[in-house]
């Protein structure tokens, strides 16, 4: 069924948005042009005009929400105390100031119904390390296999990239059904090997394993594509020179391939870590938001905010999660020099 009046309304709305944005951005640019280019004759007039729309957007959709969250993290705001918080909950219609108590509660009380912060943190570390490890090793292995004269290369590439190409919501629905204890393909295959049915969806440990299997399947193609790009940029002459010097293929892998892949892999691993650590889609849809005990930090955060509606607490929890990733990133960037050249 395709309702043309609905479609027309939707089309009008999207076009309206584009026109609205064009108008706002156009007005902004004219003002900036008059101020910086005409009046001040600033050397940086053009770059100011170029970044302005993005800056306004980011202020509105990142900076303001972050400040709002920071403010709310010091209050008792929740569904019961659903008031405009004002400054730190002090200037609103009701005094809901909570000081640092939310931050203390993150570490001392269960963050969900029973699950503690430490359990979620441990599971998140495990989740991230296992996933990124298999993404990288699997990606490198497949890229090495593909990086040669090979009949059917394009066929393999198309097949192997499929998990990335399929919209993840779709593949997650598929995986979820295949984990069905009685009818799912996973247990049927295990059954063929004589292994008894595994409770993928009802036991928290197996549920966690199911999430990891799914996410490993989902994430390998990205690393494979990145690595393949890196491998193809390595000149053959290095390998030929190494062969002349009598290096074995293992030697060349260790002293040519890996070091030259480094500049490609180091940022990719960091990006992969961000995406995995903050991945809410896979745990959310494999678990269908049921078992609390197989959650990771971000799915826990989702529950705290949208299931238990503890907005103040969820805000504090979110900042704790953000800081964990920030500290990791700073250490990673320091030791690997991952952002070398980016600021030049």
């Amino acid at each position: 069924m395709f309702d043309t009046s609905h479609a027309a309304a939707a089309l009008a709305e999207v076009i309206g948005t584009l026109v609205l944005l064009a108008g706002v951005v156009g007005a902004l640019e004219v003002v900036l042009y008059l101020i910086f280019v005409r009046w001040r004759k600033a050397r940086l007039g053009l770059p100011i005009m170029l970044v302005a729309p993005a800056v306004v957007g980011l202020l509105l959709l990142y900076v303001y929400p972050l400040l709002w969250e920071l403010n709310v993290s010091f209050t008792k705001m929740s569904l019961r105390n659903f008031v405009i918080p004002g400054f730190l909950g002090l200037t609103g219609t009701k005094d809901i100031f909570f000081g640092l108590q939310n931050y203390i509660n993150v570490f001392t009380l269960p963050v969900l119904k029973e699950t503690s912060f430490y359990q979620l943190f441990g599971q998140t570390v495990l989740w991230t390390v296992i996933n990124v490890f298999f993404h990288v090793t699997g990606g490198i292995a497949l890229a090495l296999l593909m990086n040669r004269k090979l009949r059917g290369r394009n066929f393999y590439r198309a097949m192997l990239i499929l998990p990335w190409a399929i919209p993840s919501l779709i593949s997650l629905q598929i995986w979820r059904t295949e984990y069905n204890q009685q009818f799912g393909a996973v247990n049927q295959l295990l059954g063929l090997a004589g292994i008894p049915a595994v409770p993928w969806l009802s036991d928290n440990v197996w549920n966690f394993v199911a999430m990891i299997i799914t996410n490993v399947w989902l994430g390998i193609p990205f690393m494979m594509v990145i690595t393949l790009g890196g491998l193809q940029s390595i000149s053959h002459e290095y390998y030929e020179a190494a062969e002349i010097d009598g290096a074995s293929s293992r030697d060349s892998f260790r002293s040519i391939t890996l070091p030259l892949l480094r500049p490609v892999l180091i940022p990719a691993i960091l990006l992969g870590t961000f995406l995995t650590f903050n991945n809410i889609t896979v745990p959310f849809f494999i678990n269908q938001n049921r078992l609390e005990t197989s959650d990771i930090l971000v799915t826990g955060l989702f529950r705290a905010a949208f299931e238990y509606n503890r907005y103040g607490f969820a805000a504090a929890f979110a900042f704790v999660i953000f800081v964990i990733l920030l500290v990791f990133t700073i250490l990673y960037v320091r030791t690997t020099n991952a952002l070398k050249g980016a600021y030049e």
Binding site: M1, D3, H6, A10, L11, V14, T17, L21, P47, L50, V51, A54, V55, G57, L58, L61, Y62, Y64, P65, L142, L145, R148, K149, L150, G152, Y156, R157, I161, L162, A165, I166, P167, S171, I174, T177, E178, F183, A185, Q188, V225, I226, L228, G229, H236, E240, G246, P263, V264, N278, I280, T281, L301, A305, A314, A315, F322, L325, L326, A338, A342
Partner: protein
Amino acid sequence: MSAELPQASGLARTTSGGRRAFGRPRRGEDGPVKRTLVHAALLISSLIAVFPVIRVLGVALRPGDQLLDPNFSIIPKDATMAAFQHVVFETPMFQWLFNSLLITLGTATIGLIFAATSAYAFSRYRFRGRGLGLTFLFATQMIPGIMLLVPIYLLAVQFGLVSTYRGLVIAYSVTSIPFSVWILKGYYDTVPIDLEEAARIDGCSEIEAFRRVLLPLSLPALAIVFLFNFLAAWGEFFTASVLIGSKEALLTWPLGIQRFQAQFQTQWADLSAAAIIISIPVVIMFIYTSKYLVSGLTLGGVKG
């Protein structure tokens, strides 16, 4: 070209016809045993990658009474297109797809324009706050997306943007900017500035040099960024569910297909048929552009 080079062993020379008698095979031309092993490994990996797709096809073609039949045949007995017919003619599937397509195209275009211009400023100019700006853009990637949902929702309520596409399009466009700027800036950095300077000497203005010289040269990266933003918005669920909610006429497909999964009884065949219809265009586009993908991503990555 490499046929003349000495072998690694130094002794096993190439015999006539470019075939080697013994010795280690040259890089890129494996021996028969190795070649078989490589194919076997790739075949198994491909099978794992494709397996869920094959299964879903089988489920979509099953008649209603065999849905929960544990059976692995790809084309089931009594295969039927009933589920496809039902999904196409009796559910608003194409409505959802149309909505998603509109939003996604709008978003990817706006996001690309903002990112392309900002990245130019970050790549070609030195100004106060530039380092801070880049760090901020990078740091946004560490923020758990869920964190911003509550304030963005409240902001949307304030501006009357809930249950409209305006809020969603703006939210998607802006959230795509940071990653896009990083990729594009990395790419611009690899394009020699001399080209733009030459254009300036020939009388181009700054903005013309950007538009006529740098932008055309950056086409691969722009395409990648467009594709990425397209895909990110195409499959997005959480922001859409908060900003659109359950307003029937406005549902995007990620919200729509949840309807197939009623609380107690999942409509497996419908879900599978919908999954296939939704996936096919994206998968074709993705596989078609996958060669492009390699070059665009790597260049962004090399510069950090």
